[in-house]
Amino acid sequence: MGDRRSGVSSPRPSAERGATTALRYALLLVIVATMVSGLFVGVGELVENQQERAIATQLETVGNRLAADLGTANHLVETGSGPGAAPTVELRTRLPDTVAGSEYRVRVTGSGPRYTLALRSFDPVVETTVVVRSSAGIDGSVSGGRVRIEYDGTGLVMRDG
């Protein structure tokens, strides 16, 4: 090391040796820090974008699954409705607890026969909607995990559990 320093700095006066090395080092520091922070920012944004896209995709998938289960429950209500008492339909399903690491909630809006499942993640906030058609009314809201869909004699109610 000493050899190299002496070899490189030999033409320069000995008083400038440290200054030059410090400048080079400072420049090196600046360049490396700039590059690293640039990479951090770039990759960070990429990760964030990917996470939002993943959440949106997964919310849509979760919504479609829930819509399919609601459709099944509605079909069973139609199958079981007749002159006798109202049918008992209780359907249990399992949705992901989180979407790409974010908790979420599903609400029902609209009115029959066209309802909208509004899915919203909390952090980051991403919203998506899925349309579901049902002759029986749909009500309730759930936040992932175990979900129960029940027919209460007038409409379908979805709740956690």
Binding site: M1, G18, T21, A22, Y25, L28, L29, V32, A33, M35, V36, L39, F40, V43, G44, L46, V47, Q50, Q51, R53, A54, T57, Q58, T61, V62, N64, R65, A68, D69, G71, T72, A73, H75, L76, T79, G80, S81, G82, P83, G84, A85, P87, T88, V89, E90, L91, R92, T93, P96, V99, A100, G101
Partner: protein, 311 residues
């Protein structure tokens, strides 16, 4: 001062520490890439979630089981109703036992799939089939032209008349000689009059005329057709809710008829064997269908009608 600077610079320019920043940066990037991998994995998981096979098959299994139940019970009722030597109580008992046996067998069949499927008979209601299978005047067993076939009738089905056109009165019924079928309720009366040219309906909620243009005249009262053509005036559902079924001027109609009623056949006017005859039978059966899986609890009540031989 120079010594200080030198010592500080020596600290900075120590080669062994130069890579620290790069190392930290690389570590940070590695962490970010790991997070990215995690997110991409989530997408992959989502795709597998989307393609996961649904255990409930959109409820088709339940619908199939329910339809199997309906078909089986109808077949059982049909079998017992075809056996004219059985009393109506024996027919009811046979329906209950056979359905229970079928339920046990189905339950065993579904058990390996962790599915509980069962059928329970709730109620078996009796009725009567009234027929005149060989052609003759629409008169009672005692040759009365104005007579009652059944009383306390709340429902009827497969009410079919086949009348020789030449036996009917001409196109004028002013002298009240035309054959009439009357559903006589406590408050309302539904009346069907047949002559050679038309079927005339007069009911509390409906009425009208349908032309007669074939011989024999075929009238399906409960299906609402004359000669196979739809007759809007024949809205039998618009008739009274509990009624007597009567024939008026039955001697002015020759042919065959049959009807199945939930009510009481007027046995004094009917024969047990010869025409016009009555046959007690199972009118309908109420069953509870239960279908349970780890994901689903489904229960409903079915009322299975039909079942009498359609000869």
């Amino acid at each position: 001062m120079a010594g200080l600077n030198r010592s500080s610079l020596a600290h900075f320019v120590d080669d062994s520490r130069r890579g620290q920043l790069l190392l930290v940066g690389a570590f940070g990037l590695a962490v970010l890439l790991l997070v990215l991998a995690g997110v991409l994995n989530t997408v992959s998981y989502t795709e597998s979630l989307a393609t996961r096979d649904a255990d409930l098959h959109d409820g088709r299994d339940v619908a199939t089981f329910q339809e199997d139940t309906r078909r089986t019970v109808r077949r059982v009722v049909s079998r017992v109703n075809a056996n004219e030597s059985m009393t109506v109580d024996a027919k009811k008992t046979t329906v209950e036992r056979t359905t229970a046996g079928w339920s046990d067998a189905v339950g065993r069949h579904h058990a390996p799939d962790l599915t509980g499927a069962s059928v329970t008979v709730l109620d078996v209601r009796g009725g009567d089939r009234i027929t005149q299978e060989s052609a003759g005047a629409f008169v009672s067993a005692d040759r009365e032209a104005n007579w009652t076939l059944a009383t306390n009738v709340s429902e009827s089905r497969r009410f079919r008349l086949r009348i020789d056109r030449s036996s009917l009165a001409s196109d004028r019924c002013d002298n009240a000689s035309c054959f009439e079928l009357v559903a006589n309720g406590t408050a309302d009366t539904w009346r069907l009059t047949v002559n050679r040219t038309a079927v005339v309906v007069d009911g509390p909620d409906s009425g009208g005329t349908c032309p007669v243009d074939s011989d024999p005249v075929r009238i399906n009262v409960t299906a609402g057709t004359v000669g196979g053509e739809e007759c809007g005036a024949l809205a039998f559902a618009g008739g009274p809710s509990s009624y007597r079924i009567e024939y008026r001027n039955g001697s002015n109609a020759v042919g065959t008829y049959r009807v199945t009623v939930r009510g009481d056949a007027e046995t004094a006017n009917l024969n047990a064997d010869a025409a016009p005859s009555y046959d007690p039978l199972v009118y309908d059966v109420a069953v509870r269908v239960t279908y349970r899986t780890p994901e689903l609890h489904y229960e409903t009540e079915l009322r299975v009608t039909g079942g009498e031989p359609d000869g």
